[in-house]
Amino acid sequence: MSDTESLRETIEGIVRRFEGVPGPLLAVLHGVQDLLGHVPAAAIPLIAEGLNLSRAEVHGVVTFYHHFRDRPAGRHVLRVCRAEACQAMGGVALGEHARRRLGVDFEETTADGGVTLQAVYCLGNCACSPAVMLDGELHGRVTSQQLDVLLEGLAERKP
């Protein structure tokens, strides 16, 4: 089966899951990104077709939301909070440390595909700031040293 065909099958499967659900586009996009790690450009016409929407409409929604990405992320995703409560406890410096240490800017992935660095605006951990989320796991009162330890832990986990 070609890549195009398998993508079509994947998308059709996800669309089917939301049959009868009103306003399903966001849920479908979540489904696609959960499964594929991103929403590939080639998926957009297929989603549009499946939901009876225009391509422009689907594209417009994908680009509106920060969460959806058009490229795969690295094997790990580090999200550093840059909002006020974290700023009050050194969050900006922590973000700078992450950039230096990983050698990438926010919204970029390290050359080896290991880590994607993302900015996030509040993780709801504001009483334990600064906060980061690593692969969906929340960490609070994070120092630069602790961030290093977390990232070193990833290197060990690498396949």
Binding site: G23, L29, H30, H67, C122, H139
Partner: protein
């Protein structure tokens, strides 16, 4: 010998500080020593500075130890744990810890106490008492009770909940909705999250009562994607409630139906604005809608919709169970009941403090918070999220009350307080407010979309000392334009932190060159 019960939070904040490792260490140590114990995972007591907090059931209530690390666990057992022991980490009875004792825990009464996923725990702690009462009352009576309680929306705008519900009740439609706003995008706020993780059934009960009151049969929770823990807990609780007949087409044999579905956001702050949230729930770009029509008249899928914040809805079961008069005994003036205050940022004892309206900012910052975490003087507090004003120390005697805050050109919003010490650069905070607005603007109106980016540039020029007076005047003008010319609160209120910084901390804008 009875088996000791040990409680450890599984709230995301507690986990972020190592609660899971502590729980595992306790189980390991107990096994190694042949000590039998029962480990219960709860929500958080909200005393974040004591997390990971470990509690043990004692004859006079629970006794607290904190903050506990996994490394402390062998020492605790060596001292006699889980029997109540003298130990440097022992905080005494949880209920006697001043931070906790001085609160008015109504909406959060069960959070940190019960196992959030146990419906038996919920029922044993007065759960579903409100729904049972509501099922015996005419819908209009339920709405009246909420109106009489004085409950105002806790999501930010403080609109009377009963009035909104009445509007929806009065609409004639084939279908109505309850949409719970769990987008909680404001920095410095986490009450919605703690409630959903610590007592999800109370939100489910509150939404169900809202549905019965206005004639809605379907509820949606719009939950932000940044809250994976809350998603898991709330989804599990919804499934449990349905299995036990508390959701579905025949609630408790009443013949009346209501069900709830969670819909995830996708990382857009603007989707917390109610009409943007409705657009997003319908699967579209989260662009703000023009008003009228109000969502209460024409909301989700064009149908009458109650849009309420998590805490607003979670306050309803108690109001029905104990009555409006009981709830109204708390609070001051037109701010009735309690506010879950979220104390965050540079503060020694950050956490969640549920307190009747009327407590002063100073009491919260110093009596509860213990001053700044760094030990330096507190210089400013941002209240009400990224669109809220910065409040200087000279105004710390202001009571937490919607009108009193409006009186100092500030807002209470969702009850988040972010503390900054004297190392803060208020010009940079003002710049950040504009930057955030530019980043999160839905793009529908020019003052917000274009103005916010311009604001960043102008502040940069002011700080650099380029045509400072001219640019200060320009910034003031820009703020006015945004306040007056924006369709919604993002562009309309983003100038508030800027204006307050300019007013109370003018020197910060005049430092360089």
């Amino acid at each position: 010998m009875t088996v000791a019960t040990v409680y450890i939070s599984r709230d995301a904040s507690a986990l972020s500080l190592g609660a899971e490792a502590v729980a595992q260490a306790i189980e390991r140590e107990a096994q190694a020593r042949g000590v039998e114990l029962r480990l219960v995972r709860t929500g958080s007591r909200g005393m974040c500075w004591l997390e990971p907090l470990v509690e043990v059931a004692g004859p006079d209530g629970r006794v607290a130890y904190g903050p506990v690390t996994a490394a402390d666990v062998p020492g605790l057992f060596a001292a006699g744990f889980p029997a109540v022991v003298k130990h440097p980490l022992c905080q005494g009875p949880t209920a006697r810890i001043p931070y906790f004792e001085r609160q008015d825990r109504l909406t959060f009464a069960r959070v940190g106490v019960v196992d959030p996923l146990s419906i038996d725990d919920y029922l044993q702690h007065d759960g579903y008492g409100g729904l049972r009462k509501a099922l015996e009352m005419a819908p209009a009576r339920v709405v009246q009770e909420v109106t009489d309680s004085g409950l105002r929306g806790r999501g930010g705008a403080a609109f009377p909940a009963g009035l909104k519900w009445r509007t929806v009740l009065e609409q004639v439609a084939d279908c109505k909705y309850v949409a719970c706003n769990a987008d909680e995008g404001d920095s410095g706020t986490f009450a919605d999250r703690m409630l959903m993780e610590g007592d999800p059934f109370v939100l489910i009960e509150g939404m169900t009562i809202a549905g019965l009151a206005v004639g809605a049969t379907r509820g949606y929770v719009y939950l932000r994607i940044e809250y994976p823990h809350a998603l898991r807990t709330l989804q599990a609780a919804i499934d449990t409630a349905r299995r036990h007949g508390y959701l579905g087409h025949d609630i408790l044999g009443s013949g009346r139906g209501f069900d709830i579905e969670i819909r995830l956001g996708a990382g857009a702050y603007i989707c917390g604005e109610e009409t943007s949230m409705l657009e997003s729930l319908e699967g579209r770009r989260g662009e703000v809608r023009f008003r009228p029509p109000l969502p209460a008249v024409k909301g989700l899928f064009g149908r009458p919709t109650v849009v309420n914040n998590v805490i607003t809805l979670a306050s309803v079961p108690l109001i029905l169970e104990r009555g409006a008069a009981f709830y109204k005994e708390y609070g001051v003036g037109r701010s009735q009941g309690t506010l879950p205050i979220q104390l965050a940022g540079n503060v020694r004892r950050g956490g969640l403090i549920e307190k009747a309206f009327g407590v002063t900012l100073r009491e919260v910052l110093y009596d509860f918070g213990g001053g700044s975490a760094t030990g330096r003087p507190i210089r400013a507090v941002q209240a009400g999220g990224p669109l809220g004003a910065y409040i200087p120390a000279s105004q710390f005697d202001t009571p937490l009350d919607y009108e009193a805050f409006a009186g100092i050109d500030a807002m209470l919003g969702h009850g988040g307080l972010v503390v900054f010490d004297d190392s803060v650069d208020m010009a940079q905070m003002a710049r950040y407010a504009m930057e955030f607005c530019a980043l999160e603007s839905c793009g529908k109106c020019t003052p917000c979309r274009i103005g916010s980016g311009r604001g960043v540039e102008i502040i940069d020029r002011i700080v650099q000392g380029t045509d400072r007076e001219k640019n200060l005047a320009l910034l003031a003008e820009l703020c006015d334009t945004m306040v007056q010319g924006s369709l919604c609160g993002l562009g309309g209120m983003a100038p508030f932190p800027v204006q307050s910084a300019l007013k109370h901390f003018p020197d910060d804008f005049r430092r360089g060159a």
